[in-house]
Symmetry: C2
Subunit: 247 residues, 2 copies
DNA sequence: CTCATTTTATGAACCGGATTCAAAATCGCT
DNA sequence: AGCGATTTTGAATCCGGTTCATAAAATGAG
């Protein structure tokens, strides 16, 4: 009956409220000082109520991560429908991810933590499942771009699973987000402008995979132009006044 | 005087003892259940004594990581002195890392956790510094291989910092270790044999960077042969009876 | 509308484990 | 041996996540 629906809606709303409050606390004071009691208090609920939604602190973290992944999926989907050469679309995934990292600087920190044994094992199976399912569309999006690439003759998978083609891109991006957050590491080797370097390496990788049309990874002009074009055509709304992928 | 020396030596020995005990506990029961009191007890010391060496639990974790990195450095150094084409030597770094991951399955889990904001910020500046310094030689080793490659005409850095050449390899490897440990993720997309896929992607990347001699990333035979050769010539002692890079 | 019953919210109490620190033991030296 | 200085000890403290007995609210039958 209608009563049930209303109740469920309210429950969902409250969960949202908790998630927002928790996210804000993380942005404000860092992961380190997130406290369950504080989150509940900030929403004018008792601690116990918070536990009706999340089995543990780790559970809450995984849930926040899911929420952010959901937004990240939207980025990926833009590249699926963008009408451009497949090479630019797959490259655009990386560009989009960098933009995403600027908009939600907490996401990759959190994700790194969440996929840590300590958190992952402590979260409930349900939440873990949920995060995996929320993440699935990212893979699907990439898969579709690869399919298009193969169909267009831009890429030959040589009989390997299609997703394997972009595993290097995936891990490279992931690893770079890690490095960026590991304060002191890149500085140790005097490496500046990490995301720009990532894009150069990515171009090299795509070339090495034979993804057409090839692009000179050391042609700064061409790289800059391509990034600009992607920003303008796909992420205009996220890149107002002087957004760039540096920092 | 001599008394001082002896004392210092004993201190260092005790620290070693604590580190080993902690590492064993991690291997045994996982990061999750590492307890300071247990570590101290296992070494027949009081909790307080443990705290004379490590400012906090996080500090201890970073110290363990340093210890393991030290062993990892040894792997890197073998490739610096190996007499082979630079392309095989840089590739050997990845192969060595995979072997290392088999020998110390706890390392990359731990490293992922340690470079998390939560742990990194909670450790003392001193330990952080120590870990960075311990890590430095890995970069130096890679740098030397790149220098050799440039000198031999195998690679053209196009005016970029030399280390940037292998940043893709670094992040790719790092990211893959992360994925491997994130239980359920690779399964979600039906990706098997992650480290083998990593090596294929790496070959593609090195090709894309123009690192000579080029190698077909989809030539299974050639890949297998190269891996075998590296294992035999560089890591024979670590690969007795049927060690391979799969799993 | 009332009252019994079920469901949900509350927050103080509980608990585990990291960290501290006052007291005890040991050391180094004369 | 004796006496300050240094080190070790482990019980006490502290902190914050989690639980659960109690209170409050919702439900629904009469």
């Amino acid at each position: 009956m209608a009563t049930q629906d209303r109740k469920e809606r309210q429950l969902a709303e409250r969960e949202q409220l908790f998630l927002s409050a928790a996210r804000e606390q993380i942005c404000q004071d860092g992961l380190l000082s997130l406290q369950m009691a504080k989150v509940a208090r900030a929403c004018d609920y008792a601690t116990g109520t918070l536990y009706q939604h999340f089995a543990s602190k780790e559970d809450l973290l995984v849930a926040i991560c899911s929420e952010l992944v959901d937004k990240r999926v939207e980025i990926f989907n833009r590249l699926v429908t963008w009408n451009a050469p497949t090479r630019e679309r797959i490259f655009g995934i990386a560009v989009g991810d960098i933009i995403f990292a600027h908009h939600y600087p907490e996401h990759f920190r959190l994700a790194q933590f969440v996929f840590t044994e300590v958190v992952w094992q402590a979260a409930s199976a349900k939440r873990r499942q949920q995060l995996l399912e929320t993440s699935k569309p990212m893979g699907d999006a990439v898969q579709r771009i690869i399919e298009d690439a193969v169909a267009a003759g831009d890429l030959d998978p040589h009989g390997r699973p299609l997703l394997e083609m972009t595993l290097g891109q995936w891990t490279m991006t992931l690893g770079m987000h890690n490095l960026v957050h590991a304060e002191g590491v890149l500085e140790l080797y005097n490496l500046r402008d990490p995301y720009r370097m990532l894009l150069r390496q990515l171009n090299a990788l795509l070339n090495g995979l034979g993804w057409q049309p090839q692009q000179d990874p050391f042609d700064e002009q061409a790289l800059e132009a391509l990034v600009q074009r992607i920003q303008r055509n796909v992420f205009a709304d996220l890149c107002e006044n002087g957004c760039n992928d540096k920092q």
